[in-house]
Symmetry: C2
Subunit: 432 residues, 2 copies
């Protein structure tokens, strides 16, 4: 069966009650994580600019905007909310997919579900189907797609967003295939936007493209339903590896179960060492002689700034974040990364004692940490972001993150709405 | 100077009065041609579906829709009108660019100009700058981009639409470069949609992407301004040949001067032979023994259906269109291509006497025609679509086409608005 057909049938034929509790609960945790980072990012310049554009366009009040009371058409809400939720780059990541599934898919699913008055169980199921589809297509496109310069969050993300929207619109397998085919000519997104507003916008356009394509197909639009994988289709034209094994176990096994959440408001390359550091806490900075970090070579040019002077620089510095952690700064809080912390002599003194070396036997998701104390003892720890974590442990960490970003009351209220599978409209109201 | 910088400066710094009369008049002719095919295509299913989607979204009444009285946001009008104007595939073509410049650029320029109450001289200048930019970028991307599977109408078209919109918004060279950079992550469009509604939709999305990108940049959006041509930019990731000579003479020489208009409502591969046939008219079908056509090999699999039975099939059949021409059917009129004409024994009798052979020494834009009469004489003619035509001759042909499609009164009224450089709003009113 073709890739398109497999994804289309998975999307249209998986019954909501059939979805395993484990996968559904992981999706709920990602809803909370997504909502927290989206609300926290609502005043970022890229979020403001995109939101003001769609407010200026106006239109039928179908779906809510994060950070504003006005409702707008579903496509427009998906564009704005997708962009807003990726503005802080603090959302979830799937390493095999090489992308951020939730920021592309949840805004599309939520906008369509709110526009159609759909309940929370169906919303969450559609979002889960959508993120799973985006991950599978991301893996199918493969590393070569990413290395060539395409941004899976945007490209594979659009297909996932389209599947979530198509399912909520009740399209059958043939309709879902048509949505995938139409998205083949609409999906886009380049990594060369990294470091600019174009990066979060890529998530918004994935979400908007998904809603637009499903809307057109629901109205009778005829595209080439094989255009994902046919000759001169999306895969062949976009440096896709077309790894057919990417679809193995679809519907039985959920790749979304291995989603990774960020628990520190900095570059993902620093997360493993911060998790390792947590297992050694508390440490007294005064007795630390040196800290040795062993990491995968790819991170050396990404997040090993030795002496950053700005908050942004701190987010890309092993030495600085480890010094911050030892000295009691909360690395989950956005405002912890500041020019002030970089100028603090205590931070500077400690980070000068951090030594980072590369070793390609260490996984990209892992880091080894060795802390040599002045009086002799050596403490060691290591962490792999892909290491299993119980759902209860993950929930506790995401709830802590949500509280750090939004405060106790709002974090608790959001989780109540998600856990109770509140209607899409009620959940969306909680994001304003 | 970078490609981006050259296009950006050309867009922002070419003064309207500096534009040569010849180029401007060609643009005016394309405005008439575009308006005629757009109005004629307004009831096509793809036009209706896209228009109903944007009407359902609604929003700030900024710009007119072809085929409806309601105004919608400029981006939405560009999407709908771009799609509508390419629905019949009867719009202009630029063979070097390998695309249809007007359907991507004019809808974007018109929507922005109407939204801002801009006059006809500035609208026409912006559209001309936009089509020229799209052609230059199309040539820069090269044949490899097209052969890989990308649809220049959509991809290069988006950059041209963005330049027209950016100019009308008054963006400077830096702003125009930012629009090009943002479009690098937004532009898309595949040829694998040919034969479906996805093809005309590609024109609509080019127009809408251009308006959206310029709108965002005018609001302060920061993209990577080098993303057209930088490492992992649009050119490198989209099989672009990056032919730097494509920009030679920009601002002095206008590639749009070699635009080609369709004067027959059928596949472009049949146009050269129909033009050749016109020079031999009138012919008496009864005295024709055989008709010999010599064409470029690429057309043999495109438009050499021997015995089509439907109107659509007739549009891809050398034999049928030549028989229609000899027998007095107007090949400029959409309704001439019908199931009835295919079933007509006189047409069938004559088309059976048409013999087509391929010869790769014939240009893709040319065809040779040889008519052998029963009593001995042989008539010969040939035509190359790239052969020069005076502006007066072209104007007469486009006016005839517009009359065929819209009737005398409407065709005349539209040309008056264009020739008088009426305000964008007045011109748009003429399209409803």
């Amino acid at each position: 069966m073709s890739i398109t057909q497999q994804i289309a049938e998975f999307t249209s034929e998986t019954a909501t009650p059939q979805i395993p509790a484990q996968a559904l609960r992981m999706m709920q945790l990602s809803f909370l994580d997504w909502a927290a980072v989206a609300i926290a990012g609502r005043d970022e310049p890229v979020a403001r600019i995109t939101r003001e554009m769609v407010l200026d366009e106006g239109g039928t009040p179908q779906a809510s905007l994060i950070g504003h009371q006005t409702r707008v058409p579903a496509r427009a809400a998906a564009l704005s909310n997708g962009t807003t939720s990726h503005a802080l780059d603090y959302d979830d990541t799937h390493f095999a997919h090489i992308g951020h599934p939730s920021v592309a898919v949840i805004p599309a699913a939520l906008a369509v579900a709110e526009a159609r008055g759909i309940g929370g169980a169906d919303l969450q199921a559609a979002a889960l189907i959508g993120v799973e589809a985006s991950i599978r297509i991301g893996v199918w496109l493969g590393r070569n797609h990413y290395q060539t310069g395409f941004h899976q969050t945007a490209t594979a993300g659009a297909f996932g967003a389209g599947m979530a929207a198509a399912r909520l619109m009740g399209l059958d397998a043939q309709g879902c295939a048509m949505v995938l085919g139409l998205l083949a000519t609409r999906a886009s997104g380049l990594k060369s936007q990294f470091g600019t507003m174009g990066k979060p916008f890529n998530a918004g356009l994935a979400a908007a493209n998904g809603v637009e394509a499903a809307t057109l197909v629901a109205r009778g639009f005829i595209a080439n339903p094989d255009a994902l994988e046919s000759a001169q289709g999306f895969g062949p034209t976009h440096a896709g590896e077309q790894i057919t094994s990417a679809l193995q176990g679809l519907g039985q096994q959920w790749l979304f179960d291995t989603i990774s959440h960020k628990f520190h408001a900095c570059c993902h390359g620093l997360h493993a060492v911060l998790e390792a550091g947590l297992t050694l806490a508390p440490l007294d900075a005064q007795v630390i002689e040196r800290i040795e970090v062993t990491t995968h070579p790819r991170w050396m040019t990404v997040c090993n700034q030795m002496a950053p002077t700005t908050g942004l620089g701190a987010k890309f510095s092993y030495g600085t974040v480890l010094a911050m952690q030892v000295l009691g700064h909360d690395t989950a809080v956005l405002s912890s990364y500041s020019d002030t912390v970089c100028a603090d002599p205590t931070v500077q003194g400690l980070r000068a004692r951090v030594h980072v070396t590369a070793d390609d036997s260490v996984a990209e998701t892992a880091t080894r940490l060795r802390v040599v104390l002045r009086d002799g003892p050596v403490l060691t720890a290591s962490h792999d972001l892909n290491a299993p974590m119980t759902l209860d442990a993950r929930q506790a960490k995401i709830q802590t993150k949500a509280r750090s970003l939004l405060g106790e009351d709002r974090a608790t209220a959001l989780w109540s709405l998600i856990a109770a599978q509140a209607d899409a409209g009620q959940f969306a109201d909680g994001l304003k």
